[in-house]
Symmetry: C2
Subunit: 393 residues, 2 copies
């Protein structure tokens, strides 16, 4: 299958591209490197050093004998989107190319509007380009479980059957997102569903949980193929951050009570889920939603698991929750559609956490402790970012 | 009350500003005249000639002795939004200032992205400016009944209680909007609800039906106070358009079967509803939704009513529906919250339609028949607009 991976230089886009390439697909990647630009803005770096995309692509060809073509450009430039589709004639597009940090979107007005315009316009340009070139192209779009928020009823996969005053309909599941970033994904979902309805496009919205892990079967084939690993207060995801904190002797910082429960998945399952979605495409005109996670844990549970897995002393510290979110809540979300397609999950076992701790330990010299604390306050309209030192500062 | 009316030069913004001014409020209006710019783009004009805003404000002062201050600028310029809030220190902001035509948003990619960016960014700038200056300011935002689409269950006012697998929650009503314009309003609603939650803002989302009528108690006080009246295929709303068609001997063009049912209201009720929302503000942190319409009619019913009210011959013509929408569907939508606050509706009676026909008849010399046919096709990604003649062409 000819597959275009948008955001192919990122944490998940890059390993997804390699995985699909190794599985025999013809893969091209697109990126504008804005994720690397955010690092300059924050004064932080990926814990694991990452090579330039052009270099990584060359190394991949040396190691695997497989070519991945790279296009550099911005999805908010519609002529670029159109040219890339013309040049690659993909059968499927995997769309990771959005600003993906909730705290980044909550820094201030400028970051909120940037996040929404960037994400919504990039996706609109893509929808138009697909509809105009080849409506058969299957769009696999990364959404987030955060679109649902934490309702007091079970979360279903995208849609819910509602019986109301004696009548019944299946309607989009109500959305209660918790940041301007999460809102941008809700906007995208509505726009994509509409495009499927009016133009007969095929789309799969992957409402993904929080991803942990850094190594995949492909990225470990050569040191220069590594993907990024973020532990900072703005882009770091919770389990990755806890492992770095454990290794450098920093208390694990649990926001608030720690009862916040989220769907989680191993980075290797992200790759598997995307491929399953691609191999079983949505029908013409179909907008479908898969909840892409494998297990749910509370933040406090994850801190305990890391503390148990780490051989040394680990302290857990509750800090004031910078977000506006329920710290204790009901959480039960369906996630059977990808299992039905054949997903065999990597569950979060002590060995997995030990693997993560090993990654953190190998690069402990690059940790900047000043970058870890949360700096973005949801209750404020503008947060001043801590100026963090550089790597090893 | 000190009230800022955004979009105060528009079809509804202008008469709302006059109404509030006459009712004793201190009113300022804001506009960037982009609505007049759309007329240049389309090559059409308001059926009823409208004076410059600056002139209308002067005439209003002469006629009523009341001052309405006018600010010229664009909500997507956040410094402008901040300066206007600083200059006026409003207790409430009524926000009409969005691109409000579904067909306009569906012309092509450029118009779709323009509509979403313009509407979403303008509202985001306003939310930040309110939160930073005075979170007590009550935001009264114009949404649309079109946010709900046409579900097969009763539509409630913004929220619905759902019992699912033995548990119950009250959640945002699922949205199935039918154009990139309607989608922009759904995006706004989600953004505003979130801002209320994190910053404690007060907001009322008025999910308005389709408005008909052109004359209000204030605009009829002087010819130069008239508000606009659109009958063209892009900005004209259905009942106004039917009246113009009847008067110029053009068949009433019903899109498709005509079973499309929508909530409707008289322009005078828009003014009353906005004032009721202002006099009974949302609580701190509350995001509330009022369904702002008084009666529901199908398109075919409206055509029949106009044909009956018109003294001459009227032909009804079914044209292919340019939109993607259900032409026959269930429709029952709650609209009790504004009635509970005291709204006494002007219902759609033959006399009302006769009044509309009179307006159309007085200005029949300005009708451009070439502007009436629908030109924007939902199923296409780009529609070529008919180049319409000027007034009286």
């Amino acid at each position: 299958m000819r597959i275009l991976v948008l955001g192919g230089d990122g944490y998940l886009g890059w390993p997804t591209a390699l995985h699909l390439s190794r599985r025999g697909h013809e893969v091209a990647v697109v990126d504008n490197f804005v994720r690397r630009q955010y690092d300059f803005e924050m004064g932080v770096d990926s814990l694991v050093p990452i090579a330039h995309l052009q270099h990584r692509v060359r190394v991949w060809e040396e190691v695997s004998g497989l070519r991945v073509e790279a296009f550099v450009g911005d999805l908010t430039d519609h002529t670029f989107v159109e040219r890339v589709l013309d040049a690659t004639a993909p059968e499927a597009v995997v769309h990771f190319a959005e600003q993906r940090s909730a705290p980044y979107s909550m820094i201030d007005r400028a970051h909120a509007t940037y996040t929404q315009v960037n994400n919504v316009v990039g996706t609109l340009n893509l929808l138009y380009a697909i509809a105009e070139r080849d409506p058969q192209i299957h769009l696999v779009k990364l959404g987030t479980m955060g679109e649902y928020g934490t309702p007091n009823i079970d979360i279903e996969e995208g849609f819910i059957e509602i019986t109301h005053k004696g009548r019944t309909d299946v309607l989009p599941y109500p959305k209660q997102p918790g940041s301007f970033y999460h809102l941008s994904k809700v906007h995208d979902s509505h726009n994509i569903q509409f495009a499927c309805r009016i133009w007969g496009l095929r789309a799969t919205d992957l409402n993904q949980g929080v991803v942990y892990g850094q190594e995949t079967d492909e990225t470990t084939m050569h040191a220069d193929l590594a993907t990024r690993f973020d532990y900072d207060g703005v882009f770091g995801t919770v389990l990755n951050r806890f492992c770095v904190q454990a290794v450098v002797g920093h208390p694990l910082t649990v926001y608030g009570q720690g009862g916040q429960t989220r769907g989680m998945l191993d980075i290797r399952d992200t790759l598997a889920c995307v491929e399953l979605a691609l191999l079983h495409p949505a029908a013409e005109g179909e907008f479908r939603v898969f909840n892409q996670f494998t297990e749910s844990f509370s933040v406090a549970q994850m801190a305990d698991m890391v503390a148990e897995a780490y051989p040394g002393e680990v302290r857990i510290e509750h800090v004031e929750d910078p977000r506006v979110e329920k710290e204790e809540h009901y959480y039960r979300a369906a996630h059977t559609k990808l299992l039905d397609l054949g997903l065999v999950p990597h569950l979060l076992e002590p060995a997995t956490i030990k693997g993560l701790l090993d990654v953190a330990d190998r690069h402990r010299g690059r940790v900047d402790p000043a970058a870890i604390a949360p700096t973005v306050q949801w209750r404020k309209t503008a947060s001043r970012l801590t100026t963090a030192g550089g790597p090893g500062a």
